[in-house]
């Protein structure tokens, strides 16, 4: 077997010193990149070169590098998490980019995700949304036996589909309206499907959606870009379910 031919790229990367800086695009060369390197490993190589030259490397978030922690972000060539379906940026490989290509790399952009530095943004709005109701109020020690409430297999599967959300924020980044509906809907769906989520079902929907609005996310207008970029393929049907939950909670509950 012969080693695969190395590739060269031109990067146009958003550089922004801190939250107060205006920011600009800067150009870098990425040379001798293996097509088997991941996109973030390509950025690692560029950064190592920058450090060797004494320049400030490009700041970007990443952690698990296997598509599950949701820490990595970036809009690459106009797509959140770059080209390729059902992948986070860390699972994107350079073989997806032709040799000699120019690649545009930007941070996730939304008022609710204020910039921190370069490609790093602050997604703590998501944590505040979960803190407003994305839980079941059950203290440690007071849980009944796990088999007390039966959950039909298809319902458990559907709840798991929604629970697979990694909270990366690509849905917000990709949405023309910077709406967080898919993220919020994933959690509301998971817990409204399961028996354990029933006692707080109405309050959860109202509180989480209220928090979402207060965080300055946009409104959902059913474009479906969120679903198209979601690394975990969370379905738009969760948003429809959340709409039902909201209407039900607003009109029929005591909340």
């Amino acid at each position: 077997m012969t080693e695969k031919a190395k590739r060269n790229y031109t990067l146009k990367v958003w550089r922004q010193k801190d939250a107060h800086d205006a920011g600009r695009m800067a150009e870098y060369r990425a040379e001798g990149i293996s097509p088997d390197a991941s996109f973030l490993e390509m950025l690692d190589i560029v950064n190592e070169q920058l450090v060797r030259k004494g320049e400030d490397p490009i700041a970007f978030d990443s952690d698990c590098r296997e598509g599950i922690c949701g820490m990595c972000s970036c809009v690459i060539d106009g797509r959140a998490h770059g080209p390729g379906a059902a992948t986070a940026t860390c699972q994107l490989h350079m073989r997806a980019f032709e040799d000699g290509a120019t690649i545009v790399v930007e941070p996730f952009r939304a008022r609710a995700f204020p910039p921190v530095k370069d490609l790093v943004v602050d997604r703590s709005a998501f944590d505040r949304i979960i803190a407003s109701g994305g839980f079941v109020s059950v203290n440690v020690g007071s849980a009944p036996d796990g088999n007390t409430h039966l959950v039909p297999h298809p319902v458990a599967e559907k709840a798991m589909d929604a629970a697979a959300c990694i909270g990366c924020g690509a849905c917000v980044a990709a949405c023309p309206n910077a709406s967080a509906m898919l993220f919020v809907a994933a959690k509301i769906s998971q817990l409204s499907l399961l028996p354990q989520g029933q006692p707080e079902r109405a309050a959860r929907a109202l509180n989480m959606l209220k928090r979402m609005e207060d965080e300055d996310f946009g409104n959902c207008s059913n474009h479906g870009e969120c679903e198209a970029v979601c690394p975990k393929e969370i379905k738009l049907s969760n948003i429809a379910r959340t709409n039902r939950e909201f209407i039900r909670a607003s009109v029929c509950s005591d909340e």
Binding site: M1, E3, K17, S34, P35, D36, A37, S38, E41, M42, D44, I45, E48, V51, R52, P57, A59, D61, S62, D63, C64, R65, E66, I68, C69, G70, M71, Q91, H93, R95, K117, R123, S124, D127, I130, A131, G134, F135, V136, V138, V140, G141, S142, A143, P144, D145, G146, N147, H149, L150, P152, H153, V155, M160, A163, A164, G167, Q190, L194, Q196
Partner: protein, 637 residues
């Protein structure tokens, strides 16, 4: 120093009950007067913080990522064990305890393991109640599977994302407390110093990773839930930010570090493809149920696998272990792969992999059955390597996956520094020399949900902890130390990047302190690591400034600590003149290549004390007694 493990007396079944009864309680009204600092938000940290806040304590929680939900517990795939015995197949708390002690190759504490098995059932109940979508049978009951060669089906799972779902459950409980105001969350903070006042842990000093500010926090107790140190090998299945720094700082303040050489190597990872690689990806070991592991019989055989005839292939696991074949335990499979590669029979561009061939399985079962069983793993492999495993054999290589060693803790999970507790993978406690599949998640949550709420209360109720403020000299001293160290790193302005040093350390660790160790290699490592460390402090280049988001500086600080920990790992591995679990000394093997324990001389926990930067570590031994599970030699031949 005399190590007191504080294991309660009495039969193993009654120790925890007895201990809980004898442990002092904190008056409910007094709980709100205590401030607890929790560092790390993986399974152990999130569950501990949530459980303590529910009891009424004031909790401050710190994590290095942008959100507590990102901690690396999230990447655990397989499942979580509990002795529910739902399948009616003969499981019991005692059997789970027995299997775990035996699986740990008799280097774990019986009392701790028994307690772990006891509370495991409560963990499942708690997680179900939180809305964790565990797999279900068609009748709606919880599904179980057999995992990692266990003879009973006791593993609960949520697809291949069990760690994610359990962590998100704990995270949701944590965020509920954040919403109530009983937990204050501090993301993007890295703990860089422990503050010890009058001999007790009373606070931490962090770097705010966004602003670079040095920040102090005081409390009545500090809980380290900072995970394992597998990243010392540079390439591992751990996350990029996983590090040993918080534990190492505590170690330097007097917390003993136990069994640092016990590392677990997972046999079925996707192999390294180049030196740019930042991460190794794990594939479920269930692949070995149908895949056959082989290498060419001839050295340096570079023919493509489909042109190598059957008689020129060496199915080495089947040859050496006829009864277990490809299903031998993790450490055995890993070591044998390494041996083949060391013999020059490795395959792939780099020669650093062995084949895991599904050709026979596809012939026998048909492609559609194989796809149904392993489709997602095959897709993942195809996606990463660009090779289609339905057409060409998979290539696999072992990777560092979990570290059983960690800070020494007593039965209360308290380190040798009063008020400093250590939970989850960061402590050394329950897995001995080898961790069984699906028991890491169990331990993290057991520590956080069901053990620390009792034992921490016992400590607080029986200690006098005067109020201290952040102006205390010890806080000031530690703040200065943190700032000084950052300044030192920034001012070297050498030629090599922190990444260069990390890779160099990783090579030494993998080659000489990896899955098979020998005296010569370890002694070399003990010469090479200090030399590399010296070079690091002369020649590292850290760009930027201290008071800003500076990922190069973060990395440099972590690598500096790995350069010290790596040496201790080698020292521990060298001193342990036996093989056990994940620690294999080539000098100590049975004739058929099995780990050969020396129970007469090494049935103890090796707890190392830091005696100063220029002095050698001192060894303390905690003897291990096996009253319930009788010492036997593992055999898979």
């Amino acid at each position: 120093m005399k190590l007191d493990s504080k294991i309660p007396s009495g039969p193993v079944q009654q120790k925890w009950d007895k201990h809980r009864f004898e442990t002092k309680l904190v008056n409910p009204a007094n709980k709100r007067k205590y401030e607890i600092l929790v560092v790390g938000t993986g399974l152990a940290g999130s569950s501990a913080a949530a459980a303590l806040a529910e009891l009424g304590y004031h909790v401050k929680v710190f994590c290095i990522q942008d959100s507590p939900r990102r901690a690396h517990s999230i990447a655990a795939q397989g499942g979580i064990n509990a002795a529910k015995n739902y399948p009616n197949d003969g499981d019991s708390i005692y059997r789970l305890f027995y299997d775990t002690v035996k699986g740990g190759d008799f280097r774990a504490r019986e009392a701790n393991v028994y307690r772990l098995a006891q509370v495991a059932n409560n963990i499942i109940d708690q997680c179900v109640a939180q809305g964790v979508p565990f797999a279900r049978e068609y009748g709606g009951t919880l599904a179980n599977r057999s995992f990692g060669g266990a003879q009973v089906s006791r593993t609960f799972y949520a697809r291949g994302q069990t760690g994610q779902q359990l962590l998100l459950g704990a995270y949701s409980s944590l965020m509920r407390q954040v919403g109530k105001g009983s937990v204050k969350m501090f993301p993007r903070r890295e703990m860089l110093e422990l503050v010890v006042v009058d001999g007790a842990a009373r606070g931490i000093v962090c770097r705010n990773l966004v602003t670079g500010d040095v920040e102090s926090y005081s409390g009545h107790a500090v809980l380290l839930c900072t995970g394992g140190y597998g990243q010392v090998f540079y390439l591992s299945t751990n996350a990029i930010a996983s590090n040993c720094s918080a534990a190492w700082r505590a170690h330097k303040h007097g917390a003993l570090f136990a069994n640092p050489c016990y590392t677990q190597i997972h046999p079925t990872c996707i192999p390294v493809s180049g030196d740019y690689q930042s991460k190794l990806t794990l594939m479920s070991e269930s692949l070995r149920n149908d895949g056959r592991v082989w290498v060419p019989k001839k050295k340096g055989d570079s023919r493509s696998p489909d042109t190598i005839p059957e008689e020129e292939r060496d199915y080495f696991l089947e040859r050496k272990y006829p009864s277990f074949g490809n299903l031998v335990p993790r450490d055995v499979a890993s070591r044998n792969a390494k041996q083949m590669i060391d013999e020059g029979r490795g395959v792939g561009d780099t020669g650093l992999s062995v084949y895991l061939d599904f050709g026979d399985a596809i012939k026998r079962l048909g492609e559609s059955v194989v796809r149904e069983k392993y489709g997602n793993l095959f897709d993942m492999y195809h996606h990463i390597t660009d090779e289609n495993p339905y057409k060409v054999p998979m290539r696999i290589y072992p990777a560092v996956h979990y570290t059983m060693g960690g800070l020494w803790v007593d039965y209360n999970l308290m380190t040798t520094i009063p008020g400093l507790f250590c939970l989850g993978e960061a402590n050394f406690s329950d897995h001995g020399a080898n961790r069984l599949g699906a028991s890491a998640l169990m331990q993290g949550l057991a520590d956080g949900y069901f053990i620390i709420p009792y034992t921490l209360g016992g400590y607080l109720a029986s200690s006098k902890l005067p109020k201290i403020d952040l102006g205390h000299a010890q806080f000031k001293a530690m703040e200065t130390a943190v700032a000084k160290r950052a300044q030192e790193l920034l001012s070297i302005k050498g030629k090599r990047t922190p990444g260069d040093f990390h890779r160099a350390l990783g090579h030494i660790m993998w080659d000489k302190v990896g899955m098979a160790r020998n005296k010569k290699g370890l002694e070399e490592a003990l010469r090479e690591i200090p030399k590399l460390r010296e070079e690091f402090w002369k020649d590292v280049n850290v760009t930027g400034a201290g008071r800003e988001l500076n990922q190069t500086l973060e990395r440099a600080g972590r690598v500096a600590d790995f350069l010290e920990l790596g040496e201790l790992m080698a020292r521990d591995a060298l001193h342990r003149e036996e093989s056990c679990g994940g620690h294999l000394r080539e000098e100590h093997q049975t004739p058929d290549g099995e780990a050969k324990r020396d129970d007469a001389n090494f049935a103890y926990v090796a707890a190392w004390e830091h005696k100063g930067d220029d002095a050698a570590h001192a060894l303390h031994k905690e003897p291990l007694a096996f009253e319930e599970v009788h010492l036997t030699q593992r055999s898979y031949a």
